[in-house]
Symmetry: C2
Subunit: 103 residues, 2 copies
DNA sequence: AATATTGATATGTTTTAACACATCATAGAA
DNA sequence: TTCTATGATGTGTTAAAACATATCAATATT
């Protein structure tokens, strides 16, 4: 059903949303085609590690492995890192308002 | 040079050694061919996430992504989880001593 | 010396992710 | 409505992982 972990999938989706990137923008930044990103995010692809890392990089995420027993502690850290921001690269689309603004 | 992260590579190698598995044994348990494991551990292969997860499972590791900023904290957790054992599945080969011992 | 185990390599085949496209329906904005 | 951006989907091609299998040079082990 899903080659990849739910945790990873969710983190990818969530991080992209957090940054305000569209799939196309993430594609442009990571080099991974938008069509792939769509498939990846829907869990239908057994992607290669390099692709996953490429996406993670752009999203300010890092991929790694940890002993199963330390997973709960790690998840709690991740959870707490989630709220506080401090550094959130929101990218502010801020009204492109391009060209003629005759109105 | 290496498609995969050093952290991941090292964790894989280290976890296998810790368990006392040979590459062949890890192969039998994970379903990933020994020849692959060799390539993977030497960093010469851009493997698929499913393979990585398969290996990690057998080694009692878990793969995931975390925000870059929380990496230091996580690494320290992993480090501390490393020494204390408590649950170490050493597998003790303990002398196969099989069959005829006529000598 | 003979045997077994380890990790590293090699070859040939099959499978499939990654790619470049292009298209489509939906939803918002002009 | 028209235009644009989004995410999802499809097709054909190519590069490469995954596979089975076999071999090899070092170490152990007997």
């Amino acid at each position: 059903m899903s080659y990849i972990t739910d945790q990873i999938l969710e983190s990818l989706r969530e991080a992209r949303a957090r940054k305000g990137f569209s799939q196309r923008e993430l594609s442009a930044r990571s080099g991974v085609p938008q069509s792939h990103i769509s498939k990846i995010e829907s869990g239908g692809v057994d992607l290669r590690v390099s692709s996953l890392i490429a996406l993670a990089r752009v999203l300010d995420l890092e991929l790694f492995v940890a002993p199963k027993k330390s997973v709960p502690a790690i998840k709690s850290i991740i959870r707490s890192a989630k709220g506080h921001d401090e550094d959130e690269e929101q990218v502010t689309p801020a009204y492109s308002l391009d060209g003629d603004a005759d109105e």
